[in-house]
């Protein structure tokens, strides 16, 4: 697991070869990272559509990932194609915050139909909205964060919002359910998101010994 202090370190670069020369490329900060995520998905999907779409998508990706690089026009096709893979890996998420982990988010994310006020890339706009509202940062300051750093701050904001909501709710009668039979009120805590709850370890699958394979097995490539 990559920690917060590892993420905010400075040595986030990769080397690519352009026109036979090694070029060091800095990892993208949050603002460029989210645009590169979209372009990398477009490129990887385009590889399944055909060469022309893939060429355009690859050029779009490289133009944003390595802006104003003088060696780009002289680089060969193989160098560009190989470099794109390195850059996609460089600019991918290095760690997944708990609230973004699909394995930990077990609630349904609402109905399939989007809200009437939904727009494309709204998810990223909410990041800017929450970080700006909470910390008073500008959009440029937010876009200058490392991607995982922004995700961790978003997680802390959501945790703080949960406990603030819990504190407010605990002071009102809404959180106390009255039982007519016992004539007592019972406190009902605010439901916690699944990613904030300790996940129970999976139960071991017990297999009948008679169903286990017998003998010595080899993998095909041995």
């Amino acid at each position: 697991m990559v920690g917060y202090l590892d993420i905010i370190g400075d040595d986030q670069q990769a080397a690519i070869i352009l026109a036979g020369q090694p070029v060091m490329v800095d990892r993208a900060r949050f603002g460029r990272h989210i645009q590169l995520l979209k372009r990398s998905k477009t490129f990887l999907d385009a590889l399944q559509l055909g060469p022309m779409a893939a060429v355009r998508a690859c050029q779009n990706y490289i133009d944003l990932a390595v802006p104003d690089e003088p060696l780009l026009p002289q680089a060969s096709g193989v160098e560009l194609f190989y470099a794109t893979g390195i850059l996609i890996e460089l600019n991918d998420w290095r760690a997944v915050a708990h609230w973004l982990d699909p394995n930990l988010n077990t609630e349904q994310m609402g109905s399939d139909a989007p809200a009437p006020y939904h727009y494309q890339d709204r998810f990223w706009a909410t990041w800017v909205h929450k970080l700006a509202s909470r910390y008073g940062w500008s959009r440029d300051e937010i876009f200058a964060l490392w991607p995982e750093e922004a995700a961790y701050y978003m997680q802390e904001i959501q945790i703080a919002e949960y406990y603030e909501r819990e504190d407010d709710r605990a002071l009102s009668q809404v959180s106390y359910k009255y039982n007519k039979a016992t004539k007592k009120s019972k406190f009902v805590p605010t439901p916690m998101p699944s990613w904030m709850i300790n996940q129970a370890p999976p139960e071991p699958v017990r297999t009948n010994a008679a169903h286990l394979p017998v003998g010595v097995t080899f993998a095909e490539d041995q």
Binding site: L44, L47, Q48, G50, P51, M52, A54, V55, C58, Q59, S76, G77, V78, E79, L80, F81, Y82, T84, G85, E89, E220, D221
Partner: protein, 150 residues
């Protein structure tokens, strides 16, 4: 005799196809991606069957070619498009049309002998690494049925 003070420019790499000399230039991005998408299904077939072929050659010390022929016979469907696609791949690498190659009566020897020069100019190992990195061969391997029994 005085030495020529001007440095000689290195000769550009070239290959001989059907008796004609052809200059080899690095592929551009469009050619690279066309070549990659053309050859990915065949690379997947090679990756899938190469360990078995290598094991067969090792076990028989290469003395039983009929076993290899029998194995290729079971792969006939998978290999059906390979010769045509490889011919087209050479056309892309040489930046020519397939008709041009056919008119020059390019032989298999011409194409095989051109491979080291083409590799030197285009770096096939980087191209192969990129193909694997993008999961292009894995996609085709997952879609292929098993052939020829283990």
């Amino acid at each position: 005799m005085l030495k020529n003070p001007f440095k000689r420019k290195p000769k550009p790499p070239q290959v001989t196809i059907g008796g004609e000399s052809v200059l080899v230039a690095p592929m551009d991005l469009e050619q690279t991606i066309k070549l990659t998408l053309l050859l990915s299904p065949h690379l997947a077939v090679i990756e899938q069957h190469l360990p078995r072929i290598q094991r067969m050659l090792k076990d028989t010390s290469g003395q039983r070619p009929q076993l290899l022929r029998a194995l290729f016979a079971t792969m006939r469907e998978e290999l059906a498009d390979m010769p045509g696609d490889i011919f087209q791949a050479f056309a892309i690498l040489l930046d020519k049309d397939t008709e041009w190659l056919a008119e020059r009566r390019a032989t298999a020897t011409d194409l095989i002998e051109a491979l080291p020069v083409l590799d030197q100019v285009n770096d096939f190992s980087a191209l192969y690494a990129a193909v694997g990195g993008y999961g292009l061969t894995l996609r085709y391997r997952q879609n292929q049925p098993e052939t020829g029994g283990k």
